[in-house]
Symmetry: C2
DNA sequence: ATTATATATAACAAAATTTTAATGTAAGCA
DNA sequence: TGCTTACATTAAAATTTTGTTATATATAAT
């Protein structure tokens, strides 16, 4: 992972809410109500539920989720009118591994 | 290490120059000219040399070094008219360990 | 077809960050 | 003492980030 990618992730994670979101998504069962339609968290958690938990406005969270997606931290999946967001564990692991080596 | 400390370090490392400085200080011999007065890098590298390498103005680097110090990443040592800056390896290791566990 | 829901985008205001020029301070040297 | 060097602080401008309201879009429900 190159320096630009590291820097973009650092920026994404230099905001309280975005850092919280990444942690919440580690354990959707513990942090979110169940998805009535889907019945599982295989694609992560829908934007609506993330927004509810954050207390911020819908456009703010939509933007934050987009920032985290662009940084590679989240994988969005559109399903009907919902977009689910899942952690990108591979990128997160690579990020920490690179920090370990280069920081 | 608590979330506020993590967040402050993430902010400190979300700037290209500051991230570079932390990396440069990993190997002063490779990245900086020798200290004529001191003859060693036991206290790290003086602000002047860091500024020269960065290409940014003196006040900018002074401010950046202060930000990194406040985040716990650097240890400053005043010695005559020079201030030397050394990596705080303990905090850096703790930071990465916490990311490993909580991110 | 109309209405409601989930999300995205646009436009914008407030706050924080980035960076410089100017100035202050403290130590060393002529 | 006066000059120079290293660094810190202040003031200020330009840019970025944060977050909102308003609006658009797409899907689902009635």
């Amino acid at each position: 992972m190159n320096s630009d990618a590291i820097l973009e992730i650092n920026k994404a994670l230099s905001n309280t809410t975005r850092l919280e979101i990444l942690k919440w998504l580690k354990d959707p069962e513990a942090n979110f109500p169940p998805h009535l339609e889907l019945g599982h968290f295989d694609f992560g958690v829908c934007g609506q539920n993330i927004q509810d938990k954050s207390g911020l406005s819908q456009p703010t969270i939509s933007h934050y989720l987009s920032v985290m997606h662009k940084a590679g931290l989240l994988i969005p999946t559109r399903h009907g009118k919902w977009t689910y967001f899942k952690r990108n564990e591979k990128i997160i692991a690579e990020y920490i591994k690179t920090l370990n080596k280069e920081l």
